[in-house]
Amino acid sequence: MDGEYVDALVATAPDGIAFDDLHVAHETDGYTFQTPDVDHSGIDEETLRTVAAESPHVRNWYFWHATAPQKADRWAFLRWLEGAEQRDVAERYDALADGVSATWGELHLTVTLSDGARTYSVRHRADADVGTSALETHDDPLDAREIAKHDDDGGYRPLKTAPSLQTGWAFPELSAGEFVTTVDAFYPATIANWHREREGELDVSHWRDTVDRQTGIYGVVKTWDRGDGYEHVNWVAEACCDDSQCLKRREWQYDDETDLDVDGGSGTFPCREPCSLVIAGARKWTKLEGEETQTYEFELTPSEKEQIEDIIDAVADGEAEDIREADIYEGANRYRTRFLRAKLFDDEGNLGGVETEQ
């Protein structure tokens, strides 16, 4: 291995190297080799080899050009993880010896340097401080596809970036290439879109563009936009795209001139267009919102009105299942809700005994 990076350096020197504080050139009077620590010029190949073999800068150069994936976004992602743009090589190598970590959605990512080589690891951020032996370990990046399918309760996760990634697993030792494959299996295309955004090239497709493109059973969604109003899209974004529902940061708006009034979230990686779940939801809402409102008359006590609000909140916030069985102080408690149903529903299930169709 040692020979490999030195051989590569000698082979590349005639083209000149300037990377991460390493400068190497081959001129008529011999080689120059400069780092913040050493400055050689006019040295012969043998000396160059000796100097290079001991230099972390050479190992670092070799890693970034021969070991790390070369696709621009993957490369930039790995640089971001170890703070390559903020720390020089010496500082970075010191930090990497202890491990450098970052969060990506719910992933806890770590890069560690041992014996001069980088290894990467991935686990759930909730497991950041859990010993690896207590976690189920994996070495095949594609295992992430199966882990990402279900939450901790075994429920199917149709949205990969929902904040419901299961815990209890680790990929403790990955190469750079395996590492980006793993992250991309958990959160597909997030690295590519994050990089595009950093480069100022994120191709955002706003609500209007996206619904205009729909055909088949989803074609109906375009009819939901009427005139200048976009309040309905605020509701969609609040329902589906909030940080509590999706870890992408929503960058799409109503159209390129009209921003939504709802916050896009604080995710590290962007969301560049309404996803298939949003469109499927919008199809249903387009139909439901086509209905005219009606006035229904039935009576509720103030506590009953508040209880209905509590139930809606509990379901919308995914907290219904967390309410303890005997906690009758919670409006969305099961016994409280069953009591409300027993009192207010008629035999046909009509609230207040009032028929839906009037």
Binding site: P69, Q70, K71, R74, L142, R145, K149, H150, Y156, P158, L159, K160, T161, D184, P188, A189, I191, A192, N193, R196, D203, S205, R213, T215, G216, R272, E273, C275, S276, L277, A280
Partner: protein, 293 residues
């Protein structure tokens, strides 16, 4: 230059197993090393059709739809969502079951995309149906004394849907391997509900031409055929219905040999994958030479 394979499949918001055959076939192909990268992509899951290409490093991509029929998805949705410039269904020059491939540029990534016809209408799909019959009966020579029903959704959404079913039923019938071969449908005549009426043979293998097991293949069809009153209680293979033994195979798309059809599509579009095809046919029990016509 590196080449990638991207498989485009439907996926599901509701069913966790919908993506499983796609992953399985991708893994089989990945293991051959025929492509620098193999990527799954989904209409309902992630990576989405819109964003799959940008996750691929290769400049040249073979895009194979893991769909049964030609029509709405293969002619409209996939080319639109992958942003294939200047796509026109005429480029496939298909009669509904004879799609070829077209080379196009992806608007957002500039990759060269060889857009292939779906697996479901490729000739080698007939081999997978037969192999599915072998798998479910456990008999590599199944045919004599057996009827084969190829089951499809029907024309509800797409007239080519029925064409693909009939196409393979016709091809398999011409091989004279099974005593009878019949195409049946869920929502039109001849209906799968009446499977026993359409066969003389005592034994009938029923192979649904679906990519993944799900609502239709696991709930509808078994109940419609009378294999069970309630899919949740399961059914035997075979189950006797009106004097016939029904060998219900489940979705053909779960048959490992499907990986071969994906490769065949890419090969037809110019990918140099002949040794991978050989390897996959060997591994998935499809080692017999393809029956050409």
């Amino acid at each position: 230059m590196d080449e990638a394979l991207v498989i485009a499949a439907h996926g599901s918001h509701l069913n966790a197993e919908s993506s499983t055959p796609t992953y399985d076939h991708a893994d089989t192909i990945r293991a051959t090393g025929a492509f620098a990268e193999v990527r799954e992509s989904f209409w309902k899951e992630e990576p989405s059709f819109r964003e799959a290409l940008r996750t691929v490093d290769a400049d040249e991509v073979y895009l194979v739809p893991l769909f049964i029929s030609e029509g709405y998805f293969t002619e409209q949705v996939i080319p639109r969502e992958f942003r294939l410039e200047d796509w026109d269904p005429e480029l496939w020059d298909s009669d509904g079951t004879s799609a070829t491939n077209a080379t196009l540029a992806a608007e957002d990534t500039d990759q060269t995309v060889h857009y292939c016809g779906p697996v479901g209408t490729h000739d080698s799909m007939s081999d997978v149906i037969v192999q599915r019959a072998e798998s479910v009966t456990g008999d590599p020579d199944v045919g004599d004394g057996f009827g084969l029903a190829v089951v499809g959704h029907g024309t509800e959404r797409n007239e080519n849907s029925a064409k693909a079913i009939q196409y393979h039923a016709d091809r398999i019938r011409e091989r004279d391997r099974f005593d009878e071969v019949q195409s049946l449908f869920m929502d039109e005549d001849p209906e799968v509900d009446d499977v026993a009426d359409y066969f003389e043979s005592d034994d009938i293998v029923v192979v649904p031409l679906f990519i993944a097991d799900g609502f239709h293949t696991q709930e509808d069809i078994p109940e419609d055929m009378g294999l069970t009153d309630d899919y949740r209680t399961g059914y035997d293979v075979p189950t006797t219905v009106e004097g016939h033994d029904i060998w219900y195979a489940g979705a053909v798309g779960t048959e490992p040999l499907m990986a071969d059809v994906v490769l065949e599509r890419a090969a037809d579009a110019g990918a140099d994958v002949s040794s991978a095809i050989e390897q996959v046919r060997e591994e998935t029990g499809g080692a017999k030479p393809a029956t050409g016509d």
